[in-house]
């Protein structure tokens, strides 16, 4: 009740503090021009200003910062992308879509695109499947469940840069532990830093290692919301554990699975650190075997000092991510055999 002023002054927009008045009319008038009814004290007037403007004040830091470091750069990237723009010399001539054309004509762009999609698929598909299995294992009457949940989260604590250095050593071409291990069972050493597919597998395994446990916890949370009596009646009908998992659990948690897939898409298409630090040169291989789009953007902008072309890549990457997210959304609606909800 106190949110309503006792008497609504004539000529004022009726109580902007009242619940849910979506876009009724223009901004509330500042207090100076508002006719003030004689009954209100200075204190009451202050208090009404307080009630009316505080919400805007509270949300303003986010919007101010977003304007400066989010919105402005977004638009400005487009502006840079249609100019000649050097890292050192700054803005040059307006060149229209030349930067975009140059990107499309650069075979390294297409290679980076291929690498990104390949690494993304190698990291997201096994990751989601493994995370589902781990979550299913955790969604039981485990002893020491906090211990298990914390344990699977340990890789998440290791920064991508450190992960990459560790895996770069494990996947060493000459002395790597993995080549030694597969040598024991008679497989020839793999040239992880030369062969395209092998390098993609190595990089994808870093992403998988760091994120599987994290995603398993998200899926676990959804699984715990599945009503237990569904499992009991399925068990009465003779459905085994695996069958229950496939026919009850996965359809029931579909929204969360889609959420995990979408976030791993957005993350997977931006892979940078792993590709940059996989060898000590940092450009994605001698023939750009594992250069991702983001790494390509960085090489253009900060190695070749062509910020104009790099901006064009940034915009293309954005479109690419939006496109992928949409395709993903459509595809993942089919998960769980077209169940409802």
């Amino acid at each position: 009740m106190s949110s309503h002023p006792p008497t609504a002054p004539a000529g004022e927009v009726p109580s902007s503090t009242s619940p849910a008045g979506p876009a009724r009319s223009e901004e509330p008038l500042p207090q100076a021009t508002t006719p003030v009814p004689p009954g209100l004290t200075w204190r009451q007037r202050l208090s009404r200003i307080d009630v009316r403007f505080s919400p805007y004040l509270y949300i303003s830091p986010f919007f101010l910062l977003f304007l400066v470091i989010g919105m402005f750069p977004l638009i400005y990237t487009g502006y840079v992308s249609v100019h000649e723009w050097s890292l050192i010399g700054g803005k040059g001539e307006f060149v229209g879509l030349d930067n975009y054309r140059a990107v499309f004509e650069d075979r390294y762009f297409w290679r980076a695109l291929r690498n990104t999609v390949s690494i993304f698929l190698l990291s997201s598909v096994p990751q989601v499947i493994l995370a589902l299995i781990i979550a299913g294992l955790l969604d039981t009457q485990l002893r020491a469940r906090t211990f298990w949940r914390m344990s699977i989260l340990v890789p998440f604590v290791v920064a991508p840069a450190a992960v990459t250095l560790i895996f770069g050593n494990l996947f060493g071409d000459r002395y790597g532990l993995i080549n030694s291990a597969i040598g024991v069972i008679g497989i020839d050493p793999v040239a992880w830093h030369v062969d395209t597919l092998a390098s993609h597998i190595a990089i994808a395994s870093m992403v998988n290692w760091r994120w599987t446990g994290y995603n398993a916890l998200i899926l676990l949370a959804a699984m715990q919301a599945v009503p237990r009596d569904l499992y009991e009646s399925a068990a009465l009908d003779g459905a085994g554990k695996v069958r229950q998992f496939r026919s009850i659990t996965i359809p029931m948690i579909r929204p969360t699975v889609i959420f995990v897939i979408i976030t791993s898409t957005i993350g997977g298409l931006q892979i940078f650190t792993e590709a940059r630090l996989f060898d000590n040169v940092g450009l994605g291989g001698s023939d750009r075997q594992w250069q991702t789009v983001t790494l390509y953007l960085w090489e253009l902008g900060w190695r070749l000092r062509n910020l104009g072309m790099a901006s064009a890549v940034a915009w293309l990457l954005f479109l690419f991510i939006v496109m992928f997210a949409l395709v993903n959304l459509l595809l993942s609606r089919r998960i769980g055999g077209g169940g409802k909800s």
């Binding site: 050593n169 940078f272 940092g282």
Partner: protein
Amino acid sequence: MNRRPGFLVYGLLTAFVLGSAAPLYWSLIVGSHDKSVVTQRVPPFIPGGEFFSNAQRVFDTVEFWKALGNSLLVSTVCATSVVFFCTLAGYAFAKLRFRGSNALMVFVVATLAIPTQLGVIPLFIQMAKLGWTGTVWAIIVPTLVTAFGVFFMRQYLVDAIPDELIEAARVDGCTMFGIFRNVAIPAARPAAAILWLFTFMTVWTDFFWPMIVMPSTNPTVQIALQQLQSGYYVDYALVLCAAVLSTIPLLILFVLTGRQLVAGIMQGAVKG
């Protein structure tokens, strides 16, 4: 309950946990031997005694103390600022009624989908103009308040504060900020702790943006790691010792607060 797990479940989970720990353990093994360890035919399976001399070399080779200080500084400042501003905005979106709040909230969520790389070039140009490149400001300022944080706090506070409590405080003549301080902040504490942790870890582990704006003379921990690796010859005893060193602060944080972190991830999933 017919869902009591058997040996198979425990066995599979144990295998997964060992797999999760193995790369870290391996880096401890390599980082605690001298550099010939990587070329041995049969690698050692227990840590050696060279960890501290390797660590000493790390500190001699790059500005690792400065890097640790910088990372600690930017992560703490960003986490604290994000918690304050996001609680403020999240509370406004969750509990205060104002014109346009729904549309503005949708806008916040939409910004979550924008990748950092898209704006990175103008942001760099801006930072260079302001003369902030090479200083911690370039890292701190863009992360003072995040869309994720606003969203996260809003989701939590919607249910955490009863509307009656706010009404009652208002009747008692509390100012808006007084209500925020005395009602919202105490109620927000559990979520604020989680958000602080998340932001701290995100800033600590970030590599892309610091690599663009920070020079080798004023690195963060992740940049120092890169410097150790970027020579012509990679000394893995040195590099992996540094990888372990760079992870220790977060491991300590994880041991102390892992429970909350797990709860936070699972909570965010249910509500998000």
